[in-house]
């Protein structure tokens, strides 16, 4: 495609073509146009602002003057189940498992490109547009694509992302798993073109329902690009969702994640974010709690090594009474890696009976590792309970010594301690097969 700041008519034609190539209806093309108009007028992020002080926005956002090529997102949908259960069932049927399945304790059962059951609807976002000829109800409800540059670019240039709708009264027994494999297949970019990828996942849960959803992002090895996944989660009254996001990018990818959340009255959301791959990852978590009784938890597992850099920004705005929020980030930092945790809890005067917690624990594994923590609180209401904490430690020598005395090598012992450090959060998935999936993905990196 041509450059973003090319003549307006030309770039608009390109976005229209993009919508057409994905088979999207005209309503989707209109949103892309709006996004492009906003992207060309909105200011670039200000490096003097706190949230951009440690990450250079140029590393994450496209160069407006250069032509670009967009990556494809191949989505595979399925459910997870523990092999122990499956094994038992198969044994009853007299079938023996293949050797490769025995190693993994969790199994991904493919359900194709779209799922439609009485409990849920899942497909790629483009397919959801095609199906209804209009955007799904929760799409950009807060109109971020008019206000925020990364969201505007995303609206205009999205090629990936999934749409999940959990229907009322649904109670998913097995975790839904969405695997993204992002890459440039069959369109090798030439020298001057920059490589970009934007995806938008929308998760809607209606009325009382229960679900565990995993989005696992991976990319084709050896391909470098700038990725900008946007996740919108919209829970209606009483919905209860656990959302696991795994950033398993290849090492040449820089990634700007935006996670926006809307919670209805008494809705409950748990986000578990695992930062594993990529070179630079900046993640914004933004939640407005404007309905009473909303409950939210954000957990982060950051496994930084080599020259990786992870910059995490959480913002929880308590705007209604009786809400609960809990943020916990555990960062293990090895090699010359760096991590940043900047958390902010803002409690408005009307948000009485707020319970808000924020914690960041850092495990420094090498001489050159660096970690930075800024857990902030801004509180106006008086009837609240707010705490925050941060800690920085290295491996406990006694624990290491103990494990080594039991016959483990130093590396094995260290890995075991890192596993233990993450274990606290992995268990928060509240689902054994989701926990297993997550720990296997972490173990792959170790």
């Amino acid at each position: 495609m041509i450059a973003i700041d090319a003549p307006f008519a030309q770039i608009i034609k390109e976005t229209d073509d993009l919508a057409a190539s994905l088979g999207e209806p005209s309503a989707a093309a209109d949103i892309r146009r709006d996004g492009m108009v906003a992207a060309r007028t909105l200011p670039q992020p200000d490096r003097r602002r706190e949230e951009w002080k440690r990450s250079n926005p140029d590393r994450f956002l496209p160069d407006f003057s250069r032509p670009f090529v967009l990556a494809d997102d191949r989505i595979e949908l399925g459910f997870l189940s523990e092999t122990s259960e499956l094994q038992r069932e198969l044994q009853e049927l007299g079938v023996s498992l293949a050797a490769e399945d025995k190693e993994s304790r969790v199994r991904f059962e493919t359900a194709g490109e779209a799922i439609e059951t009485p409990e849920l609807t899942v497909s790629s976002l483009s397919a959801a547009f095609r199906k209804d000829s209009q955007p799904p109800a929760g799409f950009f409800r807060a109109e971020q694509h008019q206000k925020d540059l990364p969201c505007a670019l995303n609206a205009a240039l999205r090629t990936g992302g999934a749409y999940v709708k959990i229907k009322p009264e649904a109670a998913l027994k097995r975790p839904l798993c969405i695997k993204h494999r992002v890459g440039f297949v069959g369109k090798e970019p030439d020298g001057d073109q920059q490589r970009l990828f934007f995806s938008h996942s929308l998760i809607e849960a209606l009325n009382p329902c229960k679900a565990v959803i995993i989005e696992d992002f991976t990319s084709v090895p050896g391909q470098a690009f700038k990725a900008g996944p946007l996740i919108e989660i919209d829970l209606s009254q009483g919905a209860e969702v656990t959302y696991v996001m795994i950033g398993g990018w290849d090492k040449e990818v820089s990634c700007l994640n935006n996670i926006h959340v809307r919670l209805g009255k008494d809705a409950s959301l748990k986000i578990i974010f695992a930062g594993i791959g990529g070179s630079l990852t900046k993640t914004f978590f933004s939640e407005d709690l404007n309905q009473p009784g909303a409950h939210t938890e954000i957990y982060g597992i950051i496994m930084a090594s080599g020259a990786q850099f992870f910059d995490n920004d959480t913002f929880i705005h308590h705007k209604a009474p009786s809400c609960y929020s809990n943020v916990l980030f555990n960062c293990a930092v090895d090699g010359q890696a760096r991590t940043v945790f900047a958390g902010n809890i803002l409690v408005d005067g009307c948000a009485q009976l707020t319970d808000a917690y924020q914690k960041n624990q850092n495990l420094l594994l090498s001489e050159d590792a660096k970690a930075e923590s800024m857990p902030k609180l801004e509180i106006i209401a008086d009837d609240v309970r707010c705490t925050h904490g941060a800690s920085f430690t290295e491996h406990d020598e006694n624990q290491l010594f103990y494990l080594q005395s039991r016959g483990l090598s130093e590396k094995e012992a260290k890995n075991m301690l890192v596993e233990g450090f993450f274990g606290e959060i992995i268990q928060k998935t509240g689902n054994p097969s989701a926990a297993e999936w997550l720990s296997e993905r972490l173990a792959e990196k170790m």
């Binding site: 003097r48 005067g349 009485q352 850092n362 420094l364 594994l365 090498s366 001489e367 050159d368 590792a369 660096k370 970690a371 930075e372 923590s373 800024m374 857990p375 902030k376 609180l377 801004e378 509180i379 106006i380 209401a381 008086d382 009837d383 609240v384 309970r385 707010c386 705490t387 925050h388 904490g389 941060a390 800690s391 920085f392 430690t393 290295e394």
Partner: protein, 470 residues
């Protein structure tokens, strides 16, 4: 207890040092700052040339630096409306209380300063407007070589010592207000404690602003040589005027190997004083520096006592309380830089917000890459007494070495209903229960105060904090 209850109600409502004297000065500069004023002032003080050059250079730095872009709104500071230099008396600081001009003596008598000094202090400096009007030191300390002078006298009597250390901890380029202070400083204390000398009882300074729209820029430098110990106590008040005053001090502490410096401040400026101070300490091998910091008064305070732990085994401690009443912003905190092995630090910060006041903790803990076995802990607790006040916490921790144990904890809460309920079920009235909880909240700070000798400091705390000490 009923008296106590009244005092709780009065927290932050009453200011007992708001009286003012008629202004009858030997010299009072016009408003605004200029190189001419700086030169004139330096000449009047009879300063050496290097100091005048230093001041003029700092003036340029001050003019070129922007106002801080973070923190409270400082648009109310009008640099052009301030009287930068006010000389209350022709004579240099006197050493006999009887020689202090009558009206100044009366002021300090009303503040209760000399009373405590006569009884319990090893030395005292009293600063009125820009100049120190009185200082004294016990003769046995003088014999041991302890120097305790106002900064201007120190520059006259020990120019080499002053030149060697002045501005080494806080360079003029550090921030806008440090530059301002360096260009127009006047008064403050200079302390030098020789090797191995321990000053068992505290040295004290008392700062008073009397004039309207006055800027006080005292400059304090304390050097504790190897193995020495000194405790320095400072208190401040001002009358209430409609025009705001500016207090912008620079305090530099140097603790040599094995030395210990304890610096206690109770800042009780009236609520029309901008209190924008820079305080920093360098602690060398096995030295200890402690800042005991109380912020009760002022309109806006920005104060982040810092300790640079530069030598192996150095220890830093900051214990602070802040009280933000109606219209007040207490933006305080602590800054600890671990730059050597085996250094330790501890920060304890407590704040209460009431009547729309705003208390913030803004802190930094930094561990440089080559500092191993560092231990540091930060704890901030905030109490909100009503629904219109505000409490913020902005800590930053930057760690570049794995061999560390750094922790940070903070809580913000109101006084728990269940705590009140429990105490009431034991027979206390509601307000007595509240008094007891607030007492307990401030206890860790209160017990660090040198109460047996700094009588007037205790009185300050007592009146503002419902008598939580003594």
């Amino acid at each position: 207890m009923s008296e106590k209850n009244q005092e709780i109600k009065d927290i932050g409502n009453s200011y007992k040092y708001g009286f003012a004297d008629a202004e009858d000065y030997v010299y009072k500069s016009g408003t605004g700052l200029s190189p001419r004023l700086i030169t004139e002032m330096s000449r009047m003080k009879g300063e050496p040339d290097w100091m005048l050059h230093n001041r003029l250079k700092a003036y340029e730095v001050f003019m070129s630096k922007p106002m801080p872009s973070w923190g409270p709104d400082l648009s109310g500071v009008r640099f052009d409306d301030i009287h930068y230099y006010v000389r209350p008396s022709e004579r240099p600081a006197v050493t006999s209380w009887d020689d202090v001009p009558e009206y100044i003596k009366n002021t300090f008598d009303r503040l209760g300063v000399p009373e405590a000094e006569r009884k319990h202090l090893a030395g005292l400096t009293a600063q009125y407007e820009s100049e120190v009007v009185y200082h004294s030191i016990k003769s046995n300390l003088e014999e041991k070589g302890v120097i305790f002078l106002d900064m201007d006298s120190a520059l006259r009597e020990h120019p080499d010592l002053v030149k060697k250390y002045f501005g080494t901890v806080i360079p003029m380029t550090d921030n806008k207000f440090a530059a301002l202070n360096t260009s127009v400083w006047s008064g403050g204390s200079f302390i030098y404690v020789p090797k191995g000398v321990k000053v068992d009882i505290p040295l004290q300074a008392y700062f008073r602003i009397n004039a309207q729209a006055m800027g006080q820029f005292e400059r304090t430098l304390i050097i504790a040589d190897e193995g020495a110990f000194v405790h320095y106590v400072e208190g401040c008040t001002a009358p209430i005027y409609s025009q705001d005053s500016l207090h912008s001090a620079v305090v530099e502490l140097i603790a040599m190997e094995g030395a210990r410096i304890r610096y206690s401040t109770i800042q009780n400026w009236s609520t029309n004083v901008f209190n924008l101070v820079t305080k920093r300490a360098h602690a060398y091998k096995n030295a200890t520096v402690e800042w005991i910091d109380g912020n009760i008064g002022s309109k806006i305070s920005m104060k982040y006592p810092a300790i640079y732990l530069l030598g192996e085994g150095a220890h830093g401690e900051v214990i602070s309380v802040a009280f933000a009443g109606k219209g007040q912003i207490q933006d305080t905190g602590a800054k600890i830089v671990h730059a050597a092995d085996n250094t330790t630090s501890n920060v304890l910060s407590k704040s209460i917000s009431k009547g729309g006041g705003q208390a913030s903790y803004r802190g930094l803990v930094k561990v440089s890459g080559d500092a191993e076995n560092v231990k540091g802990n930060v704890r901030c607790d905030a109490l909100l007494l009503d629904g219109i006040s505000r409490s913020d916490t902005y800590p930053t921790m930057l760690v570049s070495n794995p061999k560390v144990r750094i922790g940070h904890e903070a809580t913000v809460s109101k006084v728990g209903d269940e705590q009140i309920f429990y105490l009431m079920s034991r027979g206390l009235s509601e307000s007595d229960a509240l008094a007891m909880i607030i007492n307990g909240f401030f206890e860790p700070f209160a017990k660090e105060l040198p109460m047996e000798y700094a009588v007037e400091l205790n009185r300050l705390i007592k009146m503002e904090m419902e008598g939580s000490v003594g």
